[in-house]
């Protein structure tokens, strides 16, 4: 990891003169956390971090529509960004949609072994009192002032990392480190299949419980790299009158259904919506279900092919997997 970090810093030093800023990770408020960082000056390069806690999808900063104030594109400006395999799928999808301009991006690719979901540590140690962390490829040791724990990293991975088929960045200008062999025998939609074991009624109840927790903070939408409608988002629209601002299970469900359909065939399964949800709704499962159906119907995986038209934006006169006498 530290070799990769050194190589990353070298590369960023090389490309920094060409870009307005480089988006990477820096240390967060405690040893378990990292935060996105915008590096503009060479002296800041040392702030960069690259470790198993780097879970944010930095692609979310790329759509011009989502650019934070103060980071406006100027003529000829380029942006550097560090992308994991999963994050790069978002960029491929954004390229497919013509939202980002490949010419304006300098992408550094990395191999990824999966990121650690801190929530999974919580049961073993108080993650809010961590003073020190030691990490090697297999094991993580976490220390607080009063306790310590050693855990196999594979037990702490995000669910999305366990079903990841893209450990290497798909689209990049320079790749740091060596590419990993993609894992075999992965069932990318395992989480959906799992939920489908329930009966129809049980699933309705499951979601009712989930949606009744939603506080409509809209973090899921705001973090999503593919939700770039910003102020124009249908979820904020009064005319047309699509949503009500009421926060109850029914209105919340409708809110998330709209979002799911807006992501149909576009969601790249980065899981950011579920990660940022303050009330832990596995909200990524809704678009993931669409993804599974679109894969079965049309062989489509969003964010893997920049040149193919998405299935809901195209058609065949004779559909192979849809009955013609519906």
């Amino acid at each position: 990891m530290s070799e990769l970090l050194n190589e990353l810093k070298q590369k960023v030093a090389e490309i920094l003169p060409k870009v307005t800023y480089f988006i990477g990770y820096e240390a967060g408020f405690d040893p378990l956390r990292v935060a996105p960082v915008f590096i503009r000056k060479p002296e800041d390069i040392n702030r960069l971090q690259w470790n198993r806690f780097c879970d944010h999808n930095l692609a979310t900063y790329l759509p011009p529509q989502k650019r934070p104030p103060g980071f406006l594109f100027e003529a000829g400006e380029k942006i550097g960004v560090l992308l994991k395999g999963c994050d790069s799928r978002s960029v491929v999808q954004l390229l497919q949609e013509g939202i980002v301009d490949r010419e304006k991006l300098v992408i550094l690719g990395v191999p990824c072994w999966g990121a650690i979901d801190i929530a999974k540590l919580q049961s073993r140690i108080d993650v809010n009192k961590v003073s020190r962390v030691e990490l090697d490829e297999q094991t993580i040791m976490v220390f607080t002032d009063t306790a310590e724990v050693s855990v196999d990293v594979s037990e702490l991975l995000y669910d999305k990392c366990k079903t990841c088929q893209h450990p290497n960045t798909l689209v990049y200008d320079e790749f740091i480190g060596e590419k990993r062999d993609p894992p075999q025998d992965i069932e990318p939609f395992a989480l959906v299949t799992q939920l489908e074991q329930m009966s129809l009624g049980a699933r309705a109840e499951f979601w009712e419980k989930q949606f009744s927790r939603c506080i409509r903070c809209k973090a899921c939408r705001n973090v999503c790299p593919l939700c770039y409608c910003q102020n124009q988002c249908l979820l904020d629209s009064r005319v047309p009158h699509w949503t009500k601002e009421r926060v109850d299970a029914k209105s919340n469900r409708w809110f998330h259904l709209i979002r799911a359909f807006h992501l149909a065939g576009r969601c790249t399964d980065c899981g950011e919506c579920a990660r940022v949800c303050p009330v832990n709704i596995p909200i990524n499962l809704l678009p993931m279900k669409m993804n599974r159906e679109l894969f079965e119907l049309f062989g489509w995986r969003a964010g893997t092919n920049e040149d193919e038209k998405p299935p809901l934006m195209s058609f065949k006169l004779e559909e192979e997997h849809i009955g013609n006498d519906k």
Binding site: Q65, E97, G98, I99, Y228, C229, Q230, Q232, C233, L234, S237, V239, P240, H241, W242, H262, K309, M313
Partner: protein
Amino acid sequence: MKIGVFICHCGNNISATVDVEQVAQHALTLPGVVCAHTIPHACSEPGQQLIKKNIQEKGLNRIVIGACSPRVHEATFKRVLAQAGLNPYLLEFANLREQCSWVHEDRQLATGKAIDLIDMAVNKAARLEPLTSSKVDVNKRTLVIGGGIAGIQAALDIADSGHEVALVEKTPTIGGNMARMDKVFPTLDCSACILTPKMVEVASHPNVTLYTYSEVEQVSGFVGNFKVKIRKKARLVDMEKCTGCGSCTLKCPVKAPSEFNMGLDNRGAIYIPFPQAVPHIPVIDKTVCSYILKKKCGLCQKICPTGAIAFEQQDELTEEEFGAIIVATGYELMDWTVYGEYGYGKYKDVITSMQYERILSSSGPTGGHIKRLSDGREPEVVAIIACVGSRDAARGRPYCSSVCCMYSAKYAMLTREHLPNAQVYIFYMDIRACSKMYEEFVQRAQEKYGANYVRGRVSKIFERNGRMVLQGADTLLGQSVELEADLVVLAVGITGTQSTIELAKKLNISHDEYGFLTENHPKLRPVESSTAGIFIAGACQSPKDIPLSVAQASSAASKVLGLISHDKLETSPLVAEVTILKCVGCFRCLSVCPFSAIEEQVLRDGTKVAQVNPALCQGCGLCSATCPPAAIALRGFTDDQLISQMESLCQLNPEL
């Protein structure tokens, strides 16, 4: 918001099943509704007056009419609104007849449903906006596709009125099927004598551009403004240099069956389809020419006195703009070889009607002498079998060819004129001779020319001692018959063509399963296709004879002239519209629009947003269903309007 609701009794078509008074009473309770009336006949003059009076006296600004299907009277009531000084698009229609009173029996249920339908309409009406149409220029040029008699007639009518026409014909000459015919019923004048002058006239008309050996490749645009790509197929003969002397066609060593003579004789690889062809310029058949296939021969090039042979010639694509299109692509004979009982085409002396036309013709392969193809002998007995491939649902052709009764009678007359001693038998199902002078014509064939009419189907044809034996039934006498004939003519039915179906797809017009184009209304709009600005004429619409084809061609021409007599056309305001502020520039609308009606627009700050060309937009709403932030809305069917309709219907929760 002042909504007026008007419920029509439609005589008793609605009020017999729906308690219209109760519906009107309910309407009065709805928000925004200031008056609700029932009217015996809303579409009648007193009905219209009542609506106008209410609009003016009560200052109504949204109108809901509960009556028949909007397809029937929406236009009528839009006019009423306009006459009362209200924007016509502030009208919402509730279909209380076709969707309610006519399909339900229980008065209580039907009344309940009618109330809901009015509820939905009132809710939508409250969200209607006044709309205005825009105007587009009308291109005055017309494209006529198909150079048979219908296409020629339509082109001439339009050209004579002083407007430009392009006539596109896919074969090397105009003239179509009519050019093949010998004499035509009911006058028995020679087909060529009446057709050839028209062919020459259309070709030399200053307002007509003739594209022979050309096909329509692609059509875009809309009424008044079609863009058409025409493929001018390579003739391999320079039309400028060629004088039409025909020496090349005499020397060409290749032999291929002549299309014009229905395969009865051969032509060269370079050929002029027939002596009166227009243009009188040969064409090289690339599929058989030895020079093209093997780079050997080139005899035509050597002998051509003007150096017109151009083996290197390529297809040319030209794009032209037109305001209107007439399709007159004609017909084909149906494939009669499905009739195994008539020999699948294996007997030389069983021929088709179109082959017989060529045999009768003095310019045909036999010089106008009736001969058997097997041995050249003059036939003593000629049998004609009508309805081969017509009125035969079992063979997939349930319709009547509409011409074979008449031409069978004609063959009887012409055969007897050529061979006064020959006997003619006509096997028929019924005699249909319904037009002017037709019945008299058939009578003449029977009485003056001694044609023997046998009512019944021939079930089998076989050869015996060099003659054809026909076995069948005489259904009038109720006995089986057997006839020995020397020549059998099958009066083969008429079908639409595959190439017309392909063309219909390019034009986005409807066709039926037989390849005939569908008119917009079978009685009232017989020459209009399903797409505005595209008209149909002749046998491509249904089987028809020459007089009807010509009449329909002139009718289509008059429709075109009516259209292009306008300098501008009003476009429907029910088109998509972009709210620029909401557009995030994803351009998914542009990607899905089937009519290329959406463009990129760059704002002053460099932002790119979508923009609708209202003249191209057909109002399908696909863009609106695709746009994530609902920045593009289909007027008249906006999300807000549809949601309001759905909300009221869901609140109502009908008892199942």
